[in-house]
Structures are given as structure tokens and as C-alpha cells.
């Protein structure tokens, strides 16, 4: 099994406060990993560090993504290399339409990889197909990014973005929060359709078992106090759900 993502002894701090304290994780191509853990364990920080968010400072360790030093890349270079970060709180960008933004983003990625940019028509065909997967109204894609979207719509829009951008590795930070039962199923099916492929991988950051009912993980990790303290198969998620983090960690 080729390792797509390899995190070794990663430490990071935010505003001088250590959050990640020697976190190690290997994700192979074709795998889906779930990271669960209590509030404040460092789950979202892990996502932001991998995405390269300013203010999240790496103080030790390494991250290798598809053979490259991920931490040496700027956020947009990480995206072009095939990384997608699903936000727990997707940001509203007034005045910028989803379609315009995603076409520019996709073509910037394609140009960086030496691929030809998509024409307007080609892009719209792709966008329509991916929106359809998530049962997301194309008209909403013409509206400003996340503005006046409900919590559930924002999360589905994130998955549409993921479908359009076609990453090899998706780090999804609490994609299940703010979703009702139907939206949860639609998002879960979308993740499977887009990402469950032999050359792709997903890291699902979540508090709850419920998303994992739709997106079956191969490996489940418990993140506590900045480290992976336990790893196991899908049954670990059920155990956590039944017993809580304190009993298991």
C-alpha cells in the first residue's frame, strides 16, 4: 500500500499555545480514515495545519503528501498538489459567485499542474454533474459563495466544490455538523461517489458515529491532547459512541 499522506511527530501551536504534540498518522491511497476525539483535542488545528492556514505554526515534525514536503507549500500549491480541506465553518464571500470562483480555482490548479484550463462550457458541464451528485441547485452555484446559505447548504456546497476540484486527498473537518438526516446521507453518498477510489483518500474529522454510517472508515483514530492515542477498525467508532472518549482513550 502506497502511503498518500504521512504525518510524523507533528507539533504545532496557535498564538504560542501548543495544540498538536507529536501527532503521527499514515493514510494509504484508497483508504478512509476517521479522526474522532473530544473538543479541544486538536482536530480542527490538524486540518488547518495541513491546509496551511496562517497563524497555525508548525514547531516540529514533518508531513509528506504524495512524496512532497507538504509544509513547504503555500495553501494554493497544496490545493494544486491535490489536497482539499473541507471547512467546519465555510466562509462567506460576498459578491463572488461560486461559479466564477470555482472555475478560476480549478483552472489555476490545472495550470499549475501543466493541464489545459477548462472552457466556460466544459466547466459548467462538470459543475452541473457534481451539483447533481449532491442534489444541489445550479442556481445556487451562481450566487455568492456561501452567502445566505443555510448550515446544511454550506456543507453540501463544500462537497460540490470537492467534486469539481477533484482532489486526491480530502481532509473534511466536521462536514456532518449542521446537517439534518437527509443532508447527512446526501453528503455521505457524495463523499463516497467522489472520493472512494483506489488512488484517493479521505480523512474525516468528526465527533460522531453518524456520518460513519454512510462513509465506512477503514481506520478510526482517537485524537486527544494533540496526539493519536488509539487506532482501530470501524468498531472503535461504535465503542467510542457507546462509552465516550474518557473510557476509551
Amino acid at each position: 500500500m502506497t502511503s498518500l499522506l504521512e504525518i510524523a511527530d507533528l507539533s504545532a501551536e496557535v498564538a504560542g499555545k501548543p495544540i498538536l504534540k507529536g501527532l503521527s498518522l499514515r493514510v494509504g491511497a484508497g483508504e478512509i480514515h476517521a479522526i474522532m476525539g473530544p473538543n479541544g483535542a486538536g482536530k480542527s488545528t490538524l486540518g488547518y495545519v495541513l491546509g496551511g492556514r496562517p497563524g497555525y505554526e508548525v514547531t516540529g515534525g514533518s508531513v509528506t503528501f504524495a512524496g512532497q514536503d507538504l509544509l513547504a507549500l503555500a495553501p494554493h500549491e497544496r490545493a494544486a498538489a491535490g489536497l482539499f480541506l473541507g471547512f467546519q465553518y465555510p466562509v462567506e464571500i460576498p459578491g463572488v459567485s461560486n461559479v466564477q470562483f470555482l472555475r478560476e480555482a480549478l483552472n489555476a490548479q490545472r495550470t499549475a499542474r501543466g493541464e489545459a484550463p477548462l472552457s466556460g462550457g466544459e466547466f459548467l458541464k462538470l459543475a452541473r454533474e457534481k451539483a447533481g451528485l449532491l442534489r444541489f441547485d445550479m442556481e445556487m452555484l451562481k450566487r455568492p459563495v456561501n452567502v445566505a446559505f443555510s448550515g446544511g447548504e454550506k456543507k453540501r456546497a463544500e462537497m460540490v466544490q470537492m467534486g469539481i476540484l477533484g482532489p486526491t486527498l480530502a481532509i473534511l473537518d466536521e462536514t456532518d455538523s449542521g446537517l439534518d438526516i437527509d443532508a447527512l446521507r446526501i453528503c455521505g453518498e457524495g463523499i463516497n461517489a467522489i472520493m472512494r477510489q483506489p488512488d484517493k483518500a479521505v480523512v474525516l474529522i468528526t465527533h460522531y458515529q453518524r456520518l460513519l454510517d454512510y462513509v465506512q472508515p477503514d481506520v478510526v483514530h482517537v485524537l486527544a491532547d494533540g496526539r493519536i492515542v488509539r487506532s482501530g477498525g470501524p468498531e472503535l467508532a461504535h465503542e467510542l459512541e457507546a462509552q465516550g472518549y474518557e473510557a476509551t482513550a
Binding site: 491546509g51 496551511g52 492556514r53 496562517p54 503555500a74 495553501p75 494554493h76 497544496r78 490545493a79 494544486a80 480541506l85 471547512f87 465555510p90 466562509v91 462567506e92 464571500i93 460576498p94 459578491g95 463572488v96 466564477q100 470562483f101 470555482l102 478560476e104 480555482a105 480549478l106 489555476a108 490548479q109 499549475a112 455568492p144 459563495v145 466544490q161 476540484l165
Partner: protein, 244 residues
């Protein structure tokens, strides 16, 4: 009118933030008179040209007349646009303006809108983007005359500073001498939202492309409904590219 010919000083409020040395090279500024007859409608796009440039429009709207003015003030070492507007009964004036400055440029927009008679409407949307050590100034006075009841005036003024060394001056001002009027002004000076920039970059846009996209959206608000909105937006975009 001798006061028009004497070069103003900093004591003159309308020139308080001006580049007087530059102003001296284009002084006196000829007044361009625009009259829109009762019930008629007109529009004008002003994109001043030149290193050092000043324009002064004097607009008079007769009863029920409408006038839409769009201004793109960008790419001048000194660029000043002054607009005086006199509104008759039920007249409507709209201004959409963007000032885009870089280096040590000084850009100014000075408006004086007088609601002389009842039921006139004025709407001003001004967006400034300032980089380097540029200075962008908006001085906007709205005067509602005695008896001009039912006046409706709005000023929306926002400036974005791309560098800490840039300066934005914004002074919306209301002088109201009538009852039963609706006057609102909003004014904000800020920087681009960092979480928005990271969001766009995380999807593959370079930092410059992410900024350009957000700034384009920011200034687009000024040009909504312009006669040739696309051409104006393209000109603004070209000027923006020079700021990033």
C-alpha cells in the same frame, strides 16, 4: 467669481487632504455644467485621464429628473473629482464611484448634494482600494434645505487598505434643515478578510488572485447599473491589477 481662481489652502475643508502642489498645476479647474430638464433622465461615466487631473461637475436636476453618475478615479499621481448637485422636487441622483490608488497617489472625491426641494433622492456608493502610501479621500456633504420634506439621502462609503502605509479619509456629512427626511450614511475602513482569503487560497487561487477576486467584488457594488457596466468593471480590474 474670484474665489474660484485663488488656489485653495488646507484651511479650506474641501481641500484639507489634497495635494496642493499638484492641484496648483491644474488650477483653476473649469466647471462642467450639466442640466437635466424636468422629467428627463441622463447618465455619465467619468474616467479622468492624465497624471495630474482635476474635474469639477456642476449638476442641476429639475423637477422629477434623474441622473446617474459613475466615476473611476484611478492611476493618477493626483486625481480629483468634485461634484456639486442641486436637486429639484422629486429628482433622483445616483453616484457610484471607485478610487483605486497605489504608490504615493492622491485621489479625491468631493461631493456636495443639495436637496433644495421636497421628495428628492440621492444615493452615493463610494468604494476605495488603497495600496502603498496612497491617500484616498471622500468628502461628501449632503444638505437638506428648509422645507425639503420627504428628502431621502444615502451615503455608503467603504475603503480597503492593502498596506498599513496607505491612508483613507472618509467624511460623510449631513446638514439637515427640514423635518420628515430620511438620511443615512455608513462608513467603514478596513482590510481584506483574512479568513476569506485563506478560504479562496485553499481552493487553489494564488494570494494575488484571491485578493483580486475579493476586491473586484468590493468595487463592483459601485458600478451596478452603469451604462456600460462590463467595460467599467474591466477598466477597474486593470487598475486593480496594478495594486497587487
Amino acid at each position: 467669481m474670484s474665489e474660484v481662481l485663488a488656489l485653495p489652502t488646507r484651511k479650506d475643508e474641501d481641500f484639507r487632504y489634497s495635494d496642493l502642489a499638484a492641484l496648483g498645476t491644474v488650477w483653476p479647474v473649469a466647471r462642467e455644467t450639466i442640466v437635466v430638464a424636468a422629467g428627463e433622465a441622463g447618465s455619465l461615466v467619468v474616467v479622468p485621464e492624465g497624471e495630474l487631473v482635476a474635474r469639477h461637475l456642476v449638476v442641476s436636476l429639475e423637477e422629477g429628473a434623474r441622473f446617474d453618475l459613475f466615476v473611476l478615479n484611478a492611476g493618477h499621481a493626483f486625481g480629483r473629482v468634485a461634484v456639486d448637485v442641486l436637486l429639484g422636487r422629486g429628482a433622483e441622483f445616483r453616484l457610484g464611484a471607485a478610487q483605486l490608488g497605489n504608490g504615493s497617489e492622491t485621489l479625491e472625491l468631493v461631493t456636495e448634494v443639495t436637496h433644495a426641494e421636497p421628495d428628492a433622492v440621492s444615493r452615493q456608493v463610494v468604494r476605495s482600494v488603497l495600496a502603498g502610501s496612497a491617500t484616498g479621500t471622500y468628502l461628501g456633504r449632503v444638505a437638506v434645505a428648509r422645507g425639503a420634506i420627504g428628502s431621502d439621502a444615502e451615503q455608503s462609503v467603504r475603503a480597503m487598505l492593502l498596506d498599513r502605509t496607505a491612508t483613507a479619509n472618509a467624511r460623510p456629512e449631513l446638514e439637515i434643515y427640514a423635518d420628515d427626511v430620511k438620511c443615512a450614511h455608513g462608513c467603514a475602513i478596513g482590510e481584506l478578510d483574512a479568513s476569506g482569503l485563506f478560504y479562496l487560497e485553499s481552493r487553489g487561487l494564488s494570494p494575488a488572485a484571491a485578493k483580486r477576486l475579493m476586491l473586484q467584488a468590493f468595487i463592483a457594488e459601485a458600478f451596478v447599473g452603469a451604462p456600460d457596466e462590463d467595460a467599467l468593471a474591466a477598466a477597474a480590474q486593470a487598475a486593480l491589477a496594478g495594486l497587487l
